[in-house]
């Protein structure tokens, strides 16, 4: 195929100027894009209004898609259940028998826990969910991991609120439009969640790896105590996420931490629940003090640190 001749206007002065202007606008587009990119890298919330408006426009399509997803999953689930019904029935009967015994023990422990807390005077804030909504979209082609929620500031959703599904933590709201909100998923590298091991309370941080898995970083260095299958739940430190929400299961143990899979895959979540910020007053105070103090000071130079050591 020969190349097109559409861009060779001949002797028409007007057509030549038109093509020249086109190139000027194209180069200006690159420059303008670079400027906007720098602005949005420096200030990530700069264009949130535009994005929220775009989300509002696409909301009906996303809702329809979410319903199609739920229907598709239940269809495949039904077929799968039909094929494995007999075996599953036997396995479930055994599990129920074991679980019934466990439930009795749990109830006793729960009562004991309540009594002990009352004795110590600890009062956990009662958290009533803000709203329940669907995930209606996600940035499936970008390495940033955002999802779009079908509820916004009209329903009481505010930036910073944690989002969970029945199975575990999904992420937190970072921008709230009128009827849609943008959720930063746990798998985004920007999202850091303080967690503890469900079994013994070993503290750690969870960081997204943006490939659907997450990195688990331990706070106490030393011999790595992680084992495959360890479950991590939110610890409540930081004041943002309420404690006790399952986040991740360790699948691979490294020398200084581990790699985990999400407890709750966002694609499996039919409905999600938006929770209020766990300790809003503490988070607000923390943010205010950070703003008042300015950015964190840079690492001290070697000589000043040795002087500090001598003192």
């Amino acid at each position: 195929m020969a190349r097109s001749v559409g861009r060779r206007p001949g002797f028409s002065r007007r057509a030549q100027y038109g093509i020249f202007t086109g190139y000027v606008i194209a180069v200006a587009g690159v420059v303008l894009g670079a400027i906007l990119l720098i602005v949005s890298l420096v200030n990530p919330g700069a264009f949130s209004g535009l994005r929220s408006a775009a989300g509002e426009i696409a909301r009906p399509a996303g809702e329809a898609g979410a319903e199609a997803r739920a229907a598709g999953q239940s269809l495949f689930g039904a077929i799968g259940a039909y094929l494995g019904a007999g075996r599953q029935n036997a396995a479930l009967s055994r599990e129920v028998a074991a679980a019934r015994a466990n439930a009795m023990t749990m109830r006793a422990l729960e009562g004991e826990n309540r009594r002990l807390k009352a004795l110590l005077g600890i009062v956990d804030p009662v958290s009533r969910p803000v709203t329940a909504a669907r995930l209606i979209g996600s940035t499936s082609a970008s390495t940033r991991r955002f999802a779009v929620l079908s509820a916004g500031s009209v329903q009481g959703v505010r930036a910073g609120q944690p989002v969970r599904s029945a199975a575990g933590l999904i992420g937190r709201v970072i921008e709230a439009g009128a009827n849609t909100a943008r959720v930063l998923l746990v798998t985004d590298p920007e999202n850091v969640v303080p967690v503890r091991r469900a079994r013994d309370g070993l503290p750690a941080f969870i960081e997204g790896k943006s490939d659907g898995r997450i990195a688990i970083r331990l706070i106490n260095m030393g011999v790595n105590p992680l084992k495959g299958g360890d479950v991590f739940v939110t610890s409540g430190s930081g004041g943002l996420y309420p404690p006790g929400i399952p986040v991740a299961v360790v699948t691979e143990v490294l020398t200084d931490g581990g790699i985990g899979h999400l407890a709750s895959d966002p694609s499996d979540a039919d409905f999600v629940i938006v929770l209020p910020v766990f300790q809003a007053a503490a988070v607000a105070a923390l943010n205010a003090s950070q703003q008042a103090a300015g950015p964190a000071p840079e690492a001290p130079a070697p000589e000043s640190s040795t002087a500090g050591g001598a003192n």
Partner: protein
């Protein structure tokens, strides 16, 4: 690779061809509309926890540009890239830069190689798509403060393998675009 043939040809929808011409709205607007719809593919039933989907909008944009070089003006990357930025989750501006730069790069390719063939188009598109995904991941990495995430390998492979299907789709859309809908 034999692709399944669509039984109904777009031309059969409008059997009368005498005294008719393509509607200017469809003929000019369909490429823009399809690329914008592909940008909104983020609102699809799939909620992914990893970057797995190919950048459909950018692929469609490239495929239109390769099939019909004079359809999009050379500045088309500015508005379409900005629209894509609203939905893609990339930092705003990344689409504008990359789409505009891709249009200019396509212009250079067009002027440099006088004759074109499908494998050459595929190669060109692969180079541009690898650059697009790599730089997009770099910008996103700067935004999160994390170094370049090495998770786009599978996505790049899927994208390159998927590109010929995209050209097929654009070829079909082009036949729809030129349906004689307007009575003269």
């Amino acid at each position: 690779m034999p692709l399944p043939r669509i039984p109904v040809r777009p031309e059969d929808i409008v059997p009368i061809r005498i005294n008719r011409a393509p509607s200017p709205w469809v003929a000019e607007g369909l490429p823009w509309i399809t690329v914008m719809f592909a940008s909104m593919a983020a609102f699809s039933p799939v909620v992914a926890s990893a970057p797995v989907t190919p950048p459909l909008a950018f692929m469609l944009f490239l495929a239109w540009r390769m099939l019909r070089p004079s359809l999009f003006p050379v500045w088309a990357g500015l508005p379409l890239g900005a629209f894509d930025d609203l939905f893609s989750g990339q930092p705003f501006g990344s689409g504008i830069v990359l789409w505009s730069a891709a249009m200019l790069a396509m212009d250079v390719f067009d002027n440099r190689f006088l004759w074109r063939s499908f494998p050459q188009d595929w190669l060109t598109a692969s180079v541009l798509l690898i650059g697009y995904l790599g730089l997009g991941a770099l910008f996103a990495g700067i935004a999160t403060g994390a170094p370049l995430p090495l998770v786009i390998g599978p996505q790049i492979l899927v994208t390159i393998m998927f590109y010929p299907l995209m050209t097929q789709l654009v070829a079909l859309l082009d036949r729809i675009r030129l349906l004689p809908l307007r009575k003269l």
